[in-house]
Chain length 152, copies 2
């Protein structure tokens, strides 16, 4: 594929990305908990994770993860436990209430989005579904560096 076509596709995909951001924002506006919070809770729902692991997987810096954890802890959704194998580390796990809230938030968000998806026809949905794995591949900063680095 010639570079000029790539750039043209990039330009159009930027529009799609912008709309995706709006969609996420509209979902955040509906529910009690933000996308960031729900993502973090989903991340630790299977196994407790260290704060550093959370930060790395969310693509943010450690202090940002600490801040989010503290807020969720104050809301009673999350616990901070010592790691038996390393006294420096802090394990973050969902409380019982956190599990309930998370389950409900996931249902809510899925239903909200399903409502939007219901307005598409079958072909459009198939096209969207096929694109999801590609969208996942496009994630920059495949593991190490956070997505956001403030210039300056």
């Amino acid at each position: 594929m010639p570079p000029s076509d790539l750039t043209a596709l990039a330009s159009r995909y930027r529009e799609g990305l912008r709309h995706a951001v709006y969609l996420v924002r509209s979902m955040d506006a509906e529910g009690e908990y933000s996308t960031a919070q729900v993502s973090m809770m989903n991340m630790i729902s299977a196994n407790p994770l260290r704060v550093g692991d959370i930060a790395r997987r969310l693509g943010i810096r450690l202090p940002s993860a600490t801040e989010m954890v503290i807020k969720l802890q104050r809301a009673g959704l999350v616990e901070r436990l010592p790691d038996a194998t390393d006294a420096r580390a802090v394990l973050v796990s969902l409380t019982g209430r956190g599990q309930a809230v998370l389950a409900e938030a996931n249902v809510r968000r899925n239903e909200h989005l399903a409502e939007q998806l219901g307005q598409l026809d079958d072909d459009e949905r198939a096209v969207l579904e096929a694109a999801i794995p590609v969208m996942l591949k496009l994630n920059l900063s495949p593991g190490d560096e956070p997505a956001i680095i403030h210039a300056k």
Copy 2:
């Protein structure tokens, strides 16, 4: 399509949306100007717009648009002019420097994203391209004009 499949698709698309958000954030980290700023500037690059029109098309509230305009004005990229037909309104237009900065920002962002797209194979790119119009359809805000971002 049964509702249960819709919800399952919603759940998977949520993951795609999350990655899209990361991608946008990583593009913001690279350049000097944010996606929000570039979108606003693209919006007024053809014709000056009123602050209210900008807010509506960006899907944000009036005070948020005012704030963004003021910041861009202080950076010398944008001007606020009176509307001859309505003394209440304020028209926002790009300065010469704003036009130059915008053109360069669009090029840089497209090249940055094109680099990512270049790592896909042709089938994946075709799938992604086909999904863009569907992504745009998903963002219709009820009652109002759809938020259309003019990427260049």
